[in-house]
Symmetry: C2
Subunit: 189 residues, 2 copies
């Protein structure tokens, strides 16, 4: 593929697995070609350069695949937001969860439309496995968000909502007027 084709691939089929902008792709292709992992196998119109993988490159990607740990990346913005949900008032918190239900149901429906794909080659079979993970992930997420929204609604009714963050706000205002301890307490840098 050329850099341009790769950029389109990241935008389309790979959008939910990884992304990269052309400004990252082009220098990286040059670096990889310099390292002998890929090479320019064709040149086309408008300065187009098509790259192919080398034996070294194939070795490198296989080594990376076989050697990588099963740990998932710890960066999950949605989990962070959930941890902080108590900082929102009841309506905003519910709206946030409802928006997530809608969004992930939409993505689920989109993925489910693609399940008919051909799996005659190993590569297509791998695409199907990845798609299946996408489907199960979106389904689990939508179900969790719907469950969380119900839990929140029932908590609002039974125990009330919003005392925590209002207390934080009150304490914050208080502290700004009457700093607690330490020689520098109250100093805003």
């Amino acid at each position: 593929m050329s850099g341009y084709e790769l950029a389109r691939e990241f935008e389309q089929t790979l959008a939910h697995a990884w992304t990269a902008q052309h400004s990252q792709i082009y220098p990286e292709l040059n670096r990889m070609a310099g390292d002998g992992l890929i090479w320019i196998s064709a040149r086309g119109l408008r300065r187009r350069k098509t790259y192919s993988i080398t034996e070294d490159g194939l070795d490198a990607v296989r080594e990376w695949l076989a050697g990588s740990r099963p740990e998932s990346s710890p960066r999950n913005e949605q989990t962070v937001r959930t941890f902080l949900l108590w900082l929102l008032d009841g309506e905003t918190a519910s709206a946030l969860l409802q928006a997530e239900v809608a969004y992930h149901r939409e993505r689920l429906a989109d993925y489910e439309r693609r399940t008919g794909i051909n799996t005659s080659s190993d590569a297509e079979f791998a695409d199907r496995l990845a798609l299946e993970w996408g489907i199960r992930y979106e389904r689990a997420y939508a179900e969790w968000a719907a469950w969380a929204e119900r839990e929140l609604a029932s908590r609002k009714e039974k125990a009330g909502w919003g005392t925590d963050w209002k207390r934080v706000r009150a304490a914050t205002s208080q502290e700004m007027r009457q700093p607690r301890t330490g020689s520098d307490a109250g100093v805003r840098h």
Copy 2:
């Protein structure tokens, strides 16, 4: 909290939601204090600085929470690896999926042990919602990986495995000897 406490928090309870090293935390705390989002509310032993949030900081985090999009981050290394599974030989591919089953079952068991937590405050309730997502995620992942491993085993029996990447390797070796097109074809930079 102090920077040191935050670093420990990222290592422990937040490890599966977000991480940050102390080398990122300390400069960031200084920056946030400079921006008036937090302030040094106490100083302790060994140069320890305890930070508290300001009203501006509380506004900022609430604004971020309410305004953030529901899209999940597109960076999922595991999905990328699945897309590339066809580059591995059958045994290595199976071993990779089996390792994922084991890893995610372990994490699932770990999370399930924590479900008894108290939810009397809104913040604890939010922790419980986040934990529930962790549980559902790990369960979905372990089930998917087990399913994928069975699919792979059955494909190996019925249709065989490994023709794709062996073909790529053969083509690669071939091309290096007989470049295809273009004035620069075959040139390794």
